[in-house]
């Protein structure tokens, strides 16, 4: 009779599975434990975490280290992943408009066209022509209205007003004529004077009709076909706005530039394929998937992607003591995305959605530094330590303890830096593959697409569901149900979308709807994990046929996510494949697969 512990040192958690191997070859499971991995996976720093977890598992079973006969350690093939992003379009406005500016309380209504003049010039301007008046923050709204009304009484034709402060309604209410008034123009001093401008404000609940139409702008400014084509992006960006200002400057226009985002070079056994990053994710992935095996991937110097690819090799070199030159990148995942970027030359600090490509890359090495860890662990515990098996194989063995599975079985480890797959066939053969792109890439996409600029917030949005605070006492959850509170909620939560984290409600500071945030979250998970699950299965399935794998179980940190397993189930059922979160030994859920497998593997010795 021996007491055996299976120890799995992961990138973030170290897991232990404890069992008693009876003389009649019967395995009696005694429990498990989990702790944060100490130090980088594969270094002797890990030993501290292992001992903590071992002691916890033993204590729960009423045993201690002296009762332990063998520790079986995972043969960790370290995998390091990283992500980068390249923007591939850029919108530059040279003085001509305020794209994306949509103040919440513009004043008045209608379309006004005229020459731009600052309000202080009203008293001295000549009577001919029509004018659009600029009111900067030095003017009190009442005085501004008086000044404009005075100009009306002197038969000056004023057709629109642009205001720096949030006072569109205040000024508009005091004018003798109804005019369109656009406010909250932060950089009003940048508005070019004496050019022709068009100001449009729609009725409450409506959106502008003229300035969101390229022919509307063409009519106002007498543009020819070529000029109309150039300003079409302005019209497009104003669609759905309640108000807009477009100014005609001599050289002004909107340029949508394609940014040179560099090239990646993918080297296979026999050839090198180079792909321009700005060709987009689909083209990049077609190139990647065209290879049987990738020998290495390199990026262009001084591009975001090039630097990331270089960096990920250097991290692995540091870990294994090899030289960075000998490290190989085996896989890359590219995802198309759109991110809000502050527009250059903007007058109100507005942003524009630019196309970008998010990229994840992954390196793995065959060198196994676990021997040093094993030696130190043995020394510290006095227990015999054996490096027992390749992670992927152990994960498959452990996954088999999930009720309802049969062989062939695919185990998908959805981690933070990589997506790893192992297929265990009836004849005992195990095929494995490691793919780039996992939890970290999902967080990056959420962060970028929502313009959060804060990784922590993106992480919370990824992990937890949302709710909208509807009043001081109630919130409406994503599924439509309402939750009430006994005492009023904090003011900073009022009318906000919040993330229901395990530590309380976290308000999202951006003015985004719940539906938009939830959609971005789901899309990011699909773009990364569904794509990788399908990629992994196609590579490892018998003859590349997905339908030949009846069961897929998901393990790893991202398998604990509240919606990823469901998204996977929906997608894979189309292929008649059953997929879901693993349930190791009926009690652990997706955790402890490798540790359990390590214990199980002792039976065959």
């Amino acid at each position: 009779m021996k007491v055996i512990a299976g120890v799995d040192i992961g990138n973030s958690t170290t897991e232990v599975c404890l069992a008693r191997l009876h003389d009649d070859k019967r395995l009696e499971f005694l429990g498990s434990a989990l702790t944060v991995t100490t130090g980088m996976k594969g270094t002797v720093d890990n030993v501290k975490g292992v001992v903590t977890a071992l002691k916890e598992a033993l204590e729960k079973a009423g045993l201690d280290l002296t009762d332990l006969d063998m520790i079986r350690l995972n043969e960790a093939a370290p995998v390091i992943g990283d992500t980068a992003m390249e923007t591939i379009t850029e919108t530059i406005i040279t003085e001509s408009t305020m794209i994306g500016h949509d103040p919440s309380t513009p004043g008045g209504m209608g379309l006004g066209i005229g020459e731009v003049i600052p309000i202080k010039e009203l008293a001295h301007c000549n009577k001919k022509g029509s004018y659009v008046v600029l009111v900067d923050s030095s003017w009190n709204f009442e005085h501004a209205a008086v000044e404009i009304n005075k100009a009306f009484s002197e038969n000056l034709l004023i057709t629109g007003v642009i205001v720096q402060k949030d006072e569109g309604v205040l000024i508009s209410n005091r004018l003798v004529k109804r005019l369109p008034v656009v406010d909250e123009v932060k950089y009003i001093d940048r508005v070019p004077l004496h050019c022709q401008a068009a100001v449009e404000v729609a009725d409450t609940g409506q959106s502008i009709q003229v300035l969101s139409n390229p022919y509307g702008i063409a009519s106002i400014f007498h543009l020819d076909a070529a000029q109309t084509r150039r300003i079409a992006p302005i019209a497009k960006s104003l669609v759905g706005n309640r108000s807009a200002v477009v100014i005609r400057t001599p050289e002004g226009e909107v340029k949508e530039r394609i940014l040179p985002a560099g090239t990646v070079h993918i080297r296979g056994e026999e050839e090198i394929v180079s792909v321009a990053v700005d060709a987009g994710a689909e083209v990049i992935m077609q190139a990647v998937e065209g290879f049987q095996t990738i020998q290495d991937i390199q990026g262009e110097k001084d591009t975001n992607v090039g630097n990331m690819l270089k960096q990920v090799k250097e991290s692995m070199a540091e870990l294994t003591g090899e030289s960075a030159d000998s490290i190989r990148i085996r896989d890359m995942l590219a995802v198309d995305t759109e991110i809000p970027i502050r527009v250059q030359g903007g007058l109100a600090g507005e942003k524009c959605m630019e196309k970008a490509v998010g990229i994840a890359a992954m390196v793995q090495t065959d060198k196994l530094p676990m021997q040093k860890v094993a030696e130190r662990l043995q020394k510290e515990t006095g227990v015999y330590v054996k490096i027992a098996g390749i992670e992927a194989v152990m994960a498959s063995l452990g996954a088999m303890t999930t009720p309802g599975v049969t062989l062939p079985l695919a185990v998908l480890d959805l981690g933070g830096g990589s997506t790893d797959a192992a297929i265990l066939e009836k004849n005992g053969i195990v095929r494995t593959v490691h793919l780039a792109g996992a939890g970290e890439l999902v967080t990056m996409l959420i962060n970028l697409e929502l313009g959060l600029e804060e990784r922590f917030m993106a992480e919370q949005i990824k992990r937890f569901p949302l709710a909208k605070v509807e009043s001081l006492y109630q919130i409406r959850l994503e599924n439509g149900s309402i939750q009430f509170f006994d005492s009023p909620l904090e003011r900073r939560l009022f009318a906000r979308v919040v993330v229901l984290t395990d530590k309380g409600m976290l308000p999202i500071e951006k003015e985004l709807t719940l539906e938009k945030i939830a959609a971005v979250r789901k899309e990011a998970k699909k773009k990364v994990f569904l794509q990788n699950i399908l990629r992994a299965l196609k590579i490892t399935a018998p003859e590349g046929e997905l339908r030949r794998i009846p069961n897929v179980v998901l393990v790893g940190g991202s398998a604990l996510d509240f919606e990823i397993p469901q998204l996977a189930l929906e997608e894979l059922l189309k292929y008649k494949v059953v997929a879901g979160r693993a349930n190791i030994r009926k009690v652990e859920g997706p955790r402890n697969a490798v540790a359990t497998g390590l214990v199980l593997s002792s039976l065959s010795e």
């Binding site: 209410n173 003011r491 009318a495």
Partner: protein
């Protein structure tokens, strides 16, 4: 102090001896208030486009005035101005301390206070927090 029940508030009000239908509005109750403060608050509400009504009431604290206003208001929001203090109350949260309080901060604070009182009604996020 227990939360006041949503007691029946007749939709009529007595305006200079005549009974007339109350319109939905933020009720601003003022006593010995400073004119300049009232103007800033009203500007904030007006910019948000929510109707308001100003009444003189004999109370000696901004909080009490605000509470009266919230009880009377069909929109459930009241603002109290007593001398140089301003409070915003919401009928559903009267037992707690006022939602917003002005005790001598700068003008923009007061303008925001008006805007925020309107935003309670509009269910929009608060400014300047």
């Amino acid at each position: 102090m227990p939360l006041l029940q949503d007691s029946y508030c007749p939709p009529f009000q007595n305006r200079g001896g005549r009974m007339e239908m109350k319109k939905p509005a933020i009720e601003i109750c003022i006593h010995q208030g400073v004119e300049a403060l009232l103007c800033e608050v009203l500007a904030g509400i007006e910019e948000e486009g929510v109707p308001f009504q100003v009444t003189e009431i004999q109370e000696t604290s901004a909080a009490a005035l605000a509470r009266k206003g919230a009880e009377q208001s069909l929109l459930q929001v009241g603002i109290g101005i007593y001398r140089d203090q301003v409070c915003v109350q919401y009928r559903g949260a009267i037992a707690q301390k006022p939602l917003f309080e002005y005790i001598g901060q700068e003008d923009t604070f007061l303008r925001n206070l008006g805007s925020n009182a309107a935003r309670i009604v509009k269910k929009k996020t608060f400014k300047g927090l």
